[in-house]
Symmetry: C2
Subunit: 279 residues, 2 copies
Protein backbone atom coordinates (compact mmCIF):
# COMPACT_ATOMS: atom_id res chain seq x y z
CA UNK A 1 0.00 0.00 0.00
CA UNK A 2 1.50 3.33 -0.94
CA UNK A 3 1.78 6.41 1.21
CA UNK A 4 -1.34 8.12 -0.11
CA UNK A 5 -3.55 5.12 0.54
CA UNK A 6 -2.13 4.78 4.03
CA UNK A 7 -3.01 8.38 4.77
CA UNK A 8 -6.46 7.90 3.41
CA UNK A 9 -7.04 4.88 5.61
CA UNK A 10 -5.90 6.87 8.65
CA UNK A 11 -8.42 9.55 7.87
CA UNK A 12 -11.22 7.05 7.47
CA UNK A 13 -10.39 5.23 10.71
CA UNK A 14 -9.81 8.40 12.72
CA UNK A 15 -13.49 9.01 13.36
CA UNK A 16 -14.70 10.68 16.57
CA UNK A 17 -16.90 8.77 18.99
CA UNK A 18 -20.61 9.56 18.97
CA UNK A 19 -23.27 8.38 21.42
CA UNK A 20 -26.89 8.37 20.33
CA UNK A 21 -29.03 7.93 23.42
CA UNK A 22 -32.75 7.31 23.37
CA UNK A 23 -34.98 7.67 26.44
CA UNK A 24 -38.52 6.40 26.66
CA UNK A 25 -41.68 7.64 28.32
CA UNK A 26 -40.96 6.05 31.71
CA UNK A 27 -37.88 8.23 32.16
CA UNK A 28 -39.71 11.35 30.98
CA UNK A 29 -42.76 10.81 33.20
CA UNK A 30 -40.70 10.95 36.40
CA UNK A 31 -39.15 14.39 36.82
CA UNK A 32 -36.47 13.21 39.28
CA UNK A 33 -35.38 10.35 37.00
CA UNK A 34 -35.30 12.71 34.04
CA UNK A 35 -33.27 15.26 35.99
CA UNK A 36 -30.67 12.63 36.98
CA UNK A 37 -30.55 11.21 33.47
CA UNK A 38 -29.92 14.62 31.90
CA UNK A 39 -27.12 15.23 34.42
CA UNK A 40 -25.49 11.92 33.45
CA UNK A 41 -26.01 12.74 29.76
CA UNK A 42 -24.19 16.04 30.30
CA UNK A 43 -21.26 14.32 32.09
CA UNK A 44 -20.66 12.09 29.06
CA UNK A 45 -17.79 13.56 27.03
CA UNK A 46 -17.68 14.00 23.26
CA UNK A 47 -20.35 14.10 20.57
CA UNK A 48 -23.80 12.95 21.58
CA UNK A 49 -27.39 13.10 20.42
CA UNK A 50 -30.49 12.69 22.57
CA UNK A 51 -33.68 11.15 21.18
CA UNK A 52 -36.80 11.13 23.32
CA UNK A 53 -40.21 9.55 23.06
CA UNK A 54 -43.49 10.73 24.46
CA UNK A 55 -44.75 9.67 27.82
CA UNK A 56 -48.12 9.95 29.46
CA UNK A 57 -48.60 13.67 28.88
CA UNK A 58 -49.84 13.29 25.30
CA UNK A 59 -52.36 10.64 26.32
CA UNK A 60 -53.50 12.74 29.29
CA UNK A 61 -53.94 15.83 27.15
CA UNK A 62 -55.88 13.84 24.53
CA UNK A 63 -58.20 12.54 27.24
CA UNK A 64 -58.74 16.01 28.71
CA UNK A 65 -59.58 17.31 25.24
CA UNK A 66 -61.92 14.37 24.63
CA UNK A 67 -59.81 12.94 21.82
CA UNK A 68 -59.78 9.17 21.96
CA UNK A 69 -56.36 7.52 21.60
CA UNK A 70 -56.63 4.98 18.80
CA UNK A 71 -54.18 2.06 18.87
CA UNK A 72 -53.69 -0.78 16.34
CA UNK A 73 -51.11 -3.52 17.05
CA UNK A 74 -49.55 -1.36 19.80
CA UNK A 75 -49.14 1.60 17.49
CA UNK A 76 -50.89 4.90 17.90
CA UNK A 77 -53.09 5.95 15.00
CA UNK A 78 -52.21 9.57 14.30
CA UNK A 79 -55.26 11.46 13.06
CA UNK A 80 -54.95 15.22 12.52
CA UNK A 81 -55.99 16.02 16.10
CA UNK A 82 -53.50 13.54 17.53
CA UNK A 83 -50.75 14.99 15.32
CA UNK A 84 -51.51 18.43 16.77
CA UNK A 85 -51.25 17.02 20.28
CA UNK A 86 -47.96 15.17 19.76
CA UNK A 87 -46.49 18.22 18.01
CA UNK A 88 -47.42 20.31 21.05
CA UNK A 89 -46.37 17.78 23.68
CA UNK A 90 -43.32 16.10 22.12
CA UNK A 91 -42.02 19.07 20.08
CA UNK A 92 -42.97 21.78 22.58
CA UNK A 93 -43.57 20.82 26.20
CA UNK A 94 -41.26 17.83 26.63
CA UNK A 95 -38.53 18.81 24.18
CA UNK A 96 -38.10 22.39 25.37
CA UNK A 97 -38.16 21.47 29.06
CA UNK A 98 -35.45 18.88 28.35
CA UNK A 99 -33.41 21.53 26.52
CA UNK A 100 -33.81 24.04 29.38
CA UNK A 101 -32.55 21.42 31.86
CA UNK A 102 -29.65 20.38 29.61
CA UNK A 103 -28.63 24.03 29.33
CA UNK A 104 -28.81 24.34 33.12
CA UNK A 105 -26.31 21.48 33.40
CA UNK A 106 -24.05 22.93 30.70
CA UNK A 107 -24.98 20.94 27.59
CA UNK A 108 -25.41 23.35 24.67
CA UNK A 109 -28.53 21.55 23.43
CA UNK A 110 -30.85 22.48 20.60
CA UNK A 111 -34.28 20.83 20.57
CA UNK A 112 -35.34 19.48 17.21
CA UNK A 113 -37.95 17.75 15.14
CA UNK A 114 -36.90 16.15 11.87
CA UNK A 115 -38.31 19.24 10.10
CA UNK A 116 -35.68 21.48 11.70
CA UNK A 117 -32.63 21.63 9.46
CA UNK A 118 -34.45 19.14 7.20
CA UNK A 119 -32.58 16.60 9.33
CA UNK A 120 -35.12 13.76 9.07
CA UNK A 121 -37.38 13.53 6.07
CA UNK A 122 -39.89 10.67 5.97
CA UNK A 123 -42.78 9.44 3.84
CA UNK A 124 -46.36 9.26 5.09
CA UNK A 125 -47.13 5.58 5.62
CA UNK A 126 -49.25 4.27 2.73
CA UNK A 127 -52.82 3.28 3.57
CA UNK A 128 -53.35 -0.51 3.27
CA UNK A 129 -55.82 -2.39 5.42
CA UNK A 130 -54.95 0.09 8.18
CA UNK A 131 -54.71 3.87 7.83
CA UNK A 132 -52.11 4.88 10.41
CA UNK A 133 -52.75 8.54 9.66
CA UNK A 134 -49.95 11.09 9.88
CA UNK A 135 -47.14 8.63 10.55
CA UNK A 136 -43.77 9.00 8.83
CA UNK A 137 -41.74 6.00 7.67
CA UNK A 138 -37.98 6.26 7.26
CA UNK A 139 -35.82 4.94 4.47
CA UNK A 140 -32.06 4.93 3.94
CA UNK A 141 -32.12 8.51 2.64
CA UNK A 142 -34.21 10.00 5.46
CA UNK A 143 -31.32 11.32 7.56
CA UNK A 144 -29.20 14.28 6.43
CA UNK A 145 -26.02 13.22 8.27
CA UNK A 146 -23.83 15.99 6.81
CA UNK A 147 -26.27 18.67 7.99
CA UNK A 148 -26.42 17.16 11.50
CA UNK A 149 -22.62 17.08 11.56
CA UNK A 150 -22.57 20.79 10.66
CA UNK A 151 -24.79 21.53 13.66
CA UNK A 152 -22.54 19.49 15.98
CA UNK A 153 -19.37 21.02 14.51
CA UNK A 154 -20.83 24.44 15.37
CA UNK A 155 -20.89 23.33 19.02
CA UNK A 156 -24.50 22.23 19.51
CA UNK A 157 -25.91 18.98 20.93
CA UNK A 158 -29.07 17.84 19.09
CA UNK A 159 -32.09 16.71 21.14
CA UNK A 160 -34.64 15.09 18.84
CA UNK A 161 -38.28 14.42 19.59
CA UNK A 162 -40.26 11.79 17.68
CA UNK A 163 -41.61 14.06 14.95
CA UNK A 164 -40.37 14.26 11.36
CA UNK A 165 -41.62 15.89 8.16
CA UNK A 166 -42.19 14.95 4.54
CA UNK A 167 -40.41 17.97 3.05
CA UNK A 168 -43.71 19.28 1.70
CA UNK A 169 -44.82 21.14 4.81
CA UNK A 170 -46.38 18.16 6.60
CA UNK A 171 -45.19 17.09 10.06
CA UNK A 172 -45.37 13.34 10.73
CA UNK A 173 -45.36 11.25 13.92
CA UNK A 174 -42.45 8.78 13.87
CA UNK A 175 -41.35 6.06 16.27
CA UNK A 176 -38.51 7.31 18.50
CA UNK A 177 -36.69 3.94 18.55
CA UNK A 178 -36.66 3.95 14.75
CA UNK A 179 -35.38 7.53 14.65
CA UNK A 180 -32.55 6.64 17.05
CA UNK A 181 -31.41 3.62 15.03
CA UNK A 182 -31.70 5.44 11.69
CA UNK A 183 -29.62 8.32 13.09
CA UNK A 184 -27.04 5.80 14.34
CA UNK A 185 -26.79 4.06 10.95
CA UNK A 186 -26.52 7.30 8.96
CA UNK A 187 -24.00 8.88 11.34
CA UNK A 188 -21.85 5.74 11.61
CA UNK A 189 -20.37 6.77 8.25
CA UNK A 190 -18.97 9.89 9.95
CA UNK A 191 -18.52 8.77 13.58
CA UNK A 192 -17.74 5.66 15.64
CA UNK A 193 -21.33 5.40 16.74
CA UNK A 194 -22.74 3.66 19.81
CA UNK A 195 -26.53 3.52 20.09
CA UNK A 196 -27.98 3.38 23.60
CA UNK A 197 -31.60 2.64 24.48
CA UNK A 198 -32.31 3.75 28.05
CA UNK A 199 -35.48 2.49 29.69
CA UNK A 200 -36.86 1.33 33.04
CA UNK A 201 -35.30 -2.16 33.08
CA UNK A 202 -31.72 -3.33 33.54
CA UNK A 203 -31.56 -4.56 29.96
CA UNK A 204 -32.66 -7.71 28.14
CA UNK A 205 -33.72 -10.12 30.89
CA UNK A 206 -33.96 -13.91 30.83
CA UNK A 207 -36.94 -13.60 33.17
CA UNK A 208 -38.89 -10.38 32.70
CA UNK A 209 -39.85 -10.43 36.40
CA UNK A 210 -36.27 -10.83 37.62
CA UNK A 211 -34.07 -7.75 37.21
CA UNK A 212 -31.00 -9.84 38.17
CA UNK A 213 -31.44 -12.12 35.14
CA UNK A 214 -29.69 -9.64 32.83
CA UNK A 215 -28.19 -10.99 29.61
CA UNK A 216 -24.96 -8.99 29.32
CA UNK A 217 -24.15 -9.66 25.69
CA UNK A 218 -26.10 -10.86 22.64
CA UNK A 219 -24.82 -11.51 19.15
CA UNK A 220 -27.03 -12.31 16.15
CA UNK A 221 -26.74 -16.09 16.66
CA UNK A 222 -27.75 -15.88 20.33
CA UNK A 223 -30.58 -13.53 19.37
CA UNK A 224 -32.08 -16.19 17.10
CA UNK A 225 -31.85 -18.74 19.91
CA UNK A 226 -33.48 -16.40 22.43
CA UNK A 227 -36.32 -15.72 20.01
CA UNK A 228 -36.85 -19.44 19.37
CA UNK A 229 -36.94 -20.11 23.11
CA UNK A 230 -39.44 -17.23 23.44
CA UNK A 231 -37.25 -15.69 26.15
CA UNK A 232 -37.46 -12.29 24.48
CA UNK A 233 -40.93 -10.85 24.92
CA UNK A 234 -42.96 -9.11 22.27
CA UNK A 235 -42.36 -5.51 23.41
CA UNK A 236 -38.60 -6.03 23.14
CA UNK A 237 -38.63 -7.53 19.63
CA UNK A 238 -38.91 -4.34 17.54
CA UNK A 239 -36.19 -2.70 19.69
CA UNK A 240 -33.80 -5.62 19.16
CA UNK A 241 -34.64 -6.00 15.47
CA UNK A 242 -33.84 -2.29 15.03
CA UNK A 243 -30.65 -2.74 17.01
CA UNK A 244 -29.27 -5.67 15.02
CA UNK A 245 -30.15 -3.96 11.75
CA UNK A 246 -28.21 -0.92 12.96
CA UNK A 247 -25.19 -3.07 13.84
CA UNK A 248 -25.32 -4.81 10.46
CA UNK A 249 -25.25 -1.33 8.87
CA UNK A 250 -22.11 -0.06 10.62
CA UNK A 251 -23.09 0.94 14.16
CA UNK A 252 -20.30 -0.15 16.53
CA UNK A 253 -22.51 -1.43 19.35
CA UNK A 254 -25.98 -1.08 20.80
CA UNK A 255 -26.57 -0.93 24.55
CA UNK A 256 -29.99 -1.53 26.08
CA UNK A 257 -30.07 -0.66 29.75
CA UNK A 258 -31.54 1.22 32.68
CA UNK A 259 -31.59 5.03 32.41
CA UNK A 260 -30.20 5.26 35.95
CA UNK A 261 -27.03 3.46 34.82
CA UNK A 262 -26.02 5.82 32.00
CA UNK A 263 -23.42 7.36 34.35
CA UNK A 264 -21.48 4.05 34.18
CA UNK A 265 -20.29 5.01 30.69
CA UNK A 266 -18.55 8.12 32.05
CA UNK A 267 -16.74 5.87 34.55
CA UNK A 268 -15.81 3.40 31.75
CA UNK A 269 -18.00 0.73 33.32
CA UNK A 270 -20.44 -1.42 31.33
CA UNK A 271 -24.17 -1.49 31.90
CA UNK A 272 -27.21 -3.16 30.44
CA UNK A 273 -27.20 -5.60 27.55
CA UNK A 274 -24.55 -5.05 24.89
CA UNK A 275 -25.50 -6.09 21.37
CA UNK A 276 -22.55 -6.82 19.10
CA UNK A 277 -21.77 -8.43 15.80
CA UNK A 278 -19.41 -11.40 16.04
CA UNK A 279 -19.74 -12.23 12.34
Amino acid sequence: MDKINNDRQDIIEDKSDLYIIKIGGNVIDNSENLHNFLKDFTALKGYKILVHGGGKVATQLSETLGIEAKMVDGRRITDIETLRIVTMVYGGLINKNIVAQLQQFGTNAIGLTGADGNFIRTKKRPVTTIDYGFVGDMDERSIDAANIKRLMDAGFTPAFCAITHNGEGQLLNTNADTIASALAVALSKLYNTTLIYCFEKQGVLKDINDESSLIEEIDPKRYEELKEQQIIHSGMLPKLDNAFTAIACGVKAVIIGHAEKLGHLTENKTFGTRLINNA
Copy 2:
Protein backbone atom coordinates in the same frame (compact mmCIF):
# COMPACT_ATOMS: atom_id res chain seq x y z
CA MET B 1 -4.58 57.02 9.00
CA ASP B 2 -2.11 54.22 8.37
CA LYS B 3 -2.67 51.07 6.35
CA ILE B 4 -3.50 48.83 9.30
CA ASN B 5 -6.18 51.15 10.61
CA ASN B 6 -7.66 51.46 7.14
CA ASP B 7 -7.84 47.68 6.89
CA ARG B 8 -9.42 47.46 10.31
CA GLN B 9 -12.07 49.98 9.39
CA ASP B 10 -12.84 48.04 6.22
CA ILE B 11 -13.35 44.89 8.26
CA ILE B 12 -15.64 46.67 10.71
CA GLU B 13 -17.71 48.26 7.97
CA ASP B 14 -17.83 45.13 5.83
CA LYS B 15 -20.66 43.56 7.81
CA SER B 16 -23.24 41.37 6.09
CA ASP B 17 -26.88 42.43 5.96
CA LEU B 18 -29.28 40.76 8.37
CA TYR B 19 -33.06 41.00 8.46
CA ILE B 20 -34.89 40.22 11.68
CA ILE B 21 -38.56 39.81 10.87
CA LYS B 22 -41.30 39.50 13.44
CA ILE B 23 -44.83 38.31 12.63
CA GLY B 24 -47.77 38.65 14.95
CA GLY B 25 -50.78 36.50 15.71
CA ASN B 26 -52.94 37.88 12.90
CA VAL B 27 -50.55 36.51 10.28
CA ILE B 28 -50.27 33.15 12.06
CA ASP B 29 -54.03 32.70 12.52
CA ASN B 30 -54.69 32.78 8.76
CA SER B 31 -53.03 29.80 7.08
CA GLU B 32 -53.09 31.36 3.60
CA ASN B 33 -51.50 34.61 4.83
CA LEU B 34 -48.87 32.64 6.75
CA HIS B 35 -48.13 30.49 3.69
CA ASN B 36 -47.61 33.57 1.50
CA PHE B 37 -45.54 35.31 4.14
CA LEU B 38 -43.20 32.33 4.54
CA LYS B 39 -42.77 32.19 0.76
CA ASP B 40 -41.78 35.88 0.71
CA PHE B 41 -39.48 35.32 3.70
CA THR B 42 -37.75 32.53 1.76
CA ALA B 43 -37.32 34.74 -1.32
CA LEU B 44 -35.42 37.34 0.71
CA LYS B 45 -31.68 36.82 0.16
CA GLY B 46 -28.98 36.78 2.82
CA TYR B 47 -29.03 36.30 6.57
CA LYS B 48 -32.42 36.45 8.25
CA ILE B 49 -34.13 35.52 11.48
CA LEU B 50 -37.84 34.95 12.00
CA VAL B 51 -39.54 35.78 15.30
CA HIS B 52 -43.17 34.82 15.80
CA GLY B 53 -45.77 35.53 18.42
CA GLY B 54 -48.72 33.46 19.47
CA GLY B 55 -52.11 33.85 17.92
CA LYS B 56 -55.51 32.60 18.93
CA VAL B 57 -54.55 28.93 19.32
CA ALA B 58 -53.11 29.33 22.83
CA THR B 59 -56.22 31.17 24.02
CA GLN B 60 -58.50 28.59 22.39
CA LEU B 61 -56.60 25.69 23.96
CA SER B 62 -56.74 27.39 27.38
CA GLU B 63 -60.49 27.81 27.06
CA THR B 64 -60.99 24.19 26.00
CA LEU B 65 -58.95 23.06 29.00
CA GLY B 66 -60.91 25.39 31.29
CA ILE B 67 -57.91 27.56 32.10
CA GLU B 68 -58.92 31.17 32.35
CA ALA B 69 -56.68 33.67 30.51
CA LYS B 70 -55.61 36.32 33.02
CA MET B 71 -54.68 39.73 31.66
CA VAL B 72 -53.34 42.81 33.50
CA ASP B 73 -52.70 46.02 31.53
CA GLY B 74 -52.93 44.09 28.26
CA ARG B 75 -50.33 41.56 29.36
CA ARG B 76 -51.02 37.91 29.86
CA ILE B 77 -50.34 36.60 33.36
CA THR B 78 -48.38 33.41 32.91
CA ASP B 79 -49.23 30.95 35.67
CA ILE B 80 -47.72 27.46 35.49
CA GLU B 81 -50.64 26.08 33.46
CA THR B 82 -50.46 28.96 30.99
CA LEU B 83 -46.70 28.44 30.66
CA ARG B 84 -47.34 24.79 29.75
CA ILE B 85 -49.84 25.87 27.12
CA VAL B 86 -47.66 28.53 25.49
CA THR B 87 -44.70 26.11 25.51
CA MET B 88 -46.86 23.58 23.67
CA VAL B 89 -48.50 26.01 21.27
CA TYR B 90 -45.72 28.54 20.56
CA GLY B 91 -42.73 26.19 20.91
CA GLY B 92 -44.40 23.10 19.43
CA LEU B 93 -47.46 23.53 17.26
CA ILE B 94 -46.86 26.95 15.68
CA ASN B 95 -43.07 26.91 15.58
CA LYS B 96 -42.68 23.44 14.07
CA ASN B 97 -45.40 23.96 11.48
CA ILE B 98 -43.67 27.20 10.43
CA VAL B 99 -40.36 25.32 10.18
CA ALA B 100 -41.93 22.52 8.08
CA GLN B 101 -43.34 25.12 5.66
CA LEU B 102 -40.07 27.06 5.49
CA GLN B 103 -38.25 23.81 4.67
CA GLN B 104 -40.83 23.12 1.96
CA PHE B 105 -39.97 26.46 0.36
CA GLY B 106 -36.23 25.89 0.70
CA THR B 107 -35.29 27.87 3.83
CA ASN B 108 -33.05 25.72 6.03
CA ALA B 109 -34.87 26.81 9.20
CA ILE B 110 -34.37 25.61 12.75
CA GLY B 111 -37.18 26.36 15.22
CA LEU B 112 -36.00 27.73 18.54
CA THR B 113 -36.90 28.95 21.98
CA GLY B 114 -34.37 31.06 23.85
CA ALA B 115 -33.42 27.91 25.80
CA ASP B 116 -32.09 26.25 22.64
CA GLY B 117 -28.41 27.06 22.26
CA ASN B 118 -28.80 29.24 25.38
CA PHE B 119 -29.53 31.94 22.80
CA ILE B 120 -31.84 34.09 24.97
CA ARG B 121 -31.47 34.05 28.72
CA THR B 122 -33.88 36.18 30.73
CA LYS B 123 -34.79 36.86 34.35
CA LYS B 124 -38.18 36.04 35.83
CA ARG B 125 -39.99 39.34 36.32
CA PRO B 126 -39.88 40.36 40.00
CA VAL B 127 -43.18 40.35 41.85
CA THR B 128 -44.28 43.89 42.81
CA THR B 129 -47.93 44.86 43.07
CA ILE B 130 -48.55 42.46 40.21
CA ASP B 131 -47.22 38.90 39.92
CA TYR B 132 -46.84 38.32 36.18
CA GLY B 133 -45.88 34.70 36.82
CA PHE B 134 -43.46 32.92 34.52
CA VAL B 135 -42.53 35.92 32.39
CA GLY B 136 -38.93 36.56 31.38
CA ASP B 137 -37.46 40.07 31.16
CA MET B 138 -34.49 40.78 28.93
CA ASP B 139 -31.44 42.87 29.69
CA GLU B 140 -28.43 43.86 27.58
CA ARG B 141 -26.73 40.51 28.24
CA SER B 142 -29.71 38.29 27.39
CA ILE B 143 -28.75 37.52 23.78
CA ASP B 144 -25.78 35.30 22.92
CA ALA B 145 -25.04 36.93 19.54
CA ALA B 146 -21.84 34.93 18.88
CA ASN B 147 -23.68 31.64 19.37
CA ILE B 148 -26.51 32.71 17.04
CA LYS B 149 -23.88 33.72 14.45
CA ARG B 150 -22.34 30.23 14.73
CA LEU B 151 -25.72 28.69 13.93
CA MET B 152 -26.20 30.99 10.92
CA ASP B 153 -22.62 30.44 9.72
CA ALA B 154 -23.36 26.70 9.74
CA GLY B 155 -26.11 27.41 7.19
CA PHE B 156 -29.25 27.53 9.34
CA THR B 157 -31.99 30.17 9.56
CA PRO B 158 -33.27 30.68 13.12
CA ALA B 159 -37.04 30.82 13.73
CA PHE B 160 -37.69 31.98 17.29
CA CYS B 161 -40.91 31.65 19.23
CA ALA B 162 -41.67 33.89 22.22
CA ILE B 163 -40.24 31.63 24.92
CA THR B 164 -36.93 32.08 26.72
CA HIS B 165 -35.29 30.50 29.77
CA ASN B 166 -33.50 31.62 32.91
CA GLY B 167 -30.50 29.30 32.54
CA GLU B 168 -31.60 27.35 35.60
CA GLY B 169 -33.99 24.99 33.86
CA GLN B 170 -37.02 27.30 33.86
CA LEU B 171 -38.76 28.29 30.62
CA LEU B 172 -40.25 31.80 30.61
CA ASN B 173 -42.87 33.51 28.45
CA THR B 174 -41.42 36.61 26.78
CA ASN B 175 -42.92 39.27 24.54
CA ALA B 176 -42.10 38.55 20.89
CA ASP B 177 -41.68 42.25 19.96
CA THR B 178 -39.12 42.62 22.74
CA ILE B 179 -37.27 39.48 21.61
CA ALA B 180 -37.10 40.81 18.05
CA SER B 181 -35.70 44.19 19.07
CA ALA B 182 -33.22 42.70 21.55
CA LEU B 183 -31.98 40.30 18.84
CA ALA B 184 -31.62 43.24 16.46
CA VAL B 185 -29.61 45.30 18.95
CA ALA B 186 -27.29 42.43 19.93
CA LEU B 187 -26.73 41.30 16.34
CA SER B 188 -26.17 44.84 15.01
CA LYS B 189 -22.64 44.52 16.41
CA LEU B 190 -22.02 41.71 13.90
CA TYR B 191 -24.40 42.55 11.04
CA ASN B 192 -26.00 45.54 9.30
CA THR B 193 -29.32 44.79 10.90
CA THR B 194 -32.79 45.82 9.76
CA LEU B 195 -35.67 45.00 12.08
CA ILE B 196 -39.06 44.45 10.48
CA TYR B 197 -42.38 44.17 12.32
CA CYS B 198 -44.99 42.60 10.04
CA PHE B 199 -48.61 42.86 11.05
CA GLU B 200 -52.11 43.33 9.64
CA LYS B 201 -51.91 47.07 8.91
CA GLN B 202 -49.99 49.05 6.29
CA GLY B 203 -47.79 50.61 8.97
CA VAL B 204 -48.12 53.55 11.34
CA LEU B 205 -51.28 55.34 10.28
CA LYS B 206 -52.35 58.96 10.87
CA ASP B 207 -55.92 57.68 11.09
CA ILE B 208 -56.19 54.14 12.43
CA ASN B 209 -59.33 53.60 10.34
CA ASP B 210 -57.74 54.76 7.08
CA GLU B 211 -55.17 52.39 5.60
CA SER B 212 -54.17 55.05 3.06
CA SER B 213 -53.02 57.44 5.83
CA LEU B 214 -49.64 55.70 6.10
CA ILE B 215 -46.76 57.67 7.62
CA GLU B 216 -43.82 56.58 5.46
CA GLU B 217 -40.99 57.77 7.68
CA ILE B 218 -40.60 58.73 11.33
CA ASP B 219 -37.51 60.00 13.12
CA PRO B 220 -37.28 60.51 16.89
CA LYS B 221 -38.33 64.19 16.70
CA ARG B 222 -41.43 63.40 14.65
CA TYR B 223 -42.21 60.51 17.00
CA GLU B 224 -42.38 62.92 19.95
CA GLU B 225 -44.75 65.18 17.97
CA LEU B 226 -47.00 62.28 16.98
CA LYS B 227 -47.21 61.16 20.60
CA GLU B 228 -48.05 64.68 21.80
CA GLN B 229 -50.79 64.95 19.16
CA GLN B 230 -52.05 61.53 20.29
CA ILE B 231 -51.97 60.34 16.68
CA ILE B 232 -50.17 57.16 17.69
CA HIS B 233 -52.55 54.86 19.55
CA SER B 234 -51.77 52.95 22.69
CA GLY B 235 -51.24 49.52 21.12
CA MET B 236 -48.55 50.97 18.84
CA LEU B 237 -46.58 52.75 21.59
CA PRO B 238 -44.58 49.80 23.00
CA LYS B 239 -43.71 48.68 19.44
CA LEU B 240 -42.39 52.14 18.53
CA ASP B 241 -40.61 52.63 21.85
CA ASN B 242 -38.86 49.30 21.28
CA ALA B 243 -38.04 50.32 17.73
CA PHE B 244 -36.45 53.69 18.56
CA THR B 245 -34.48 52.13 21.41
CA ALA B 246 -33.17 49.56 18.90
CA ILE B 247 -32.16 52.29 16.45
CA ALA B 248 -30.41 54.26 19.19
CA CYS B 249 -28.45 51.09 19.98
CA GLY B 250 -27.11 50.47 16.47
CA VAL B 251 -29.92 48.91 14.42
CA LYS B 252 -29.82 50.42 10.92
CA ALA B 253 -33.57 50.84 10.44
CA VAL B 254 -36.89 49.50 11.64
CA ILE B 255 -39.77 48.87 9.26
CA ILE B 256 -43.34 48.45 10.48
CA GLY B 257 -45.63 47.23 7.75
CA HIS B 258 -48.16 44.77 6.37
CA ALA B 259 -47.08 41.12 6.23
CA GLU B 260 -48.40 40.91 2.65
CA LYS B 261 -45.87 43.53 1.56
CA LEU B 262 -42.69 41.77 2.73
CA GLY B 263 -42.05 40.71 -0.88
CA HIS B 264 -41.40 44.39 -1.72
CA LEU B 265 -37.99 44.08 -0.06
CA THR B 266 -36.91 41.39 -2.52
CA GLU B 267 -37.88 43.78 -5.35
CA ASN B 268 -35.97 46.66 -3.67
CA LYS B 269 -39.22 48.55 -3.09
CA THR B 270 -40.12 50.21 0.20
CA PHE B 271 -43.15 49.29 2.29
CA GLY B 272 -44.72 50.30 5.58
CA THR B 273 -43.36 52.92 7.93
CA ARG B 274 -39.59 53.29 8.07
CA LEU B 275 -38.16 54.41 11.41
CA ILE B 276 -34.77 56.05 11.18
CA ASN B 277 -32.40 58.11 13.24
CA ASN B 278 -31.62 61.54 11.79
CA ALA B 279 -29.62 62.62 14.82
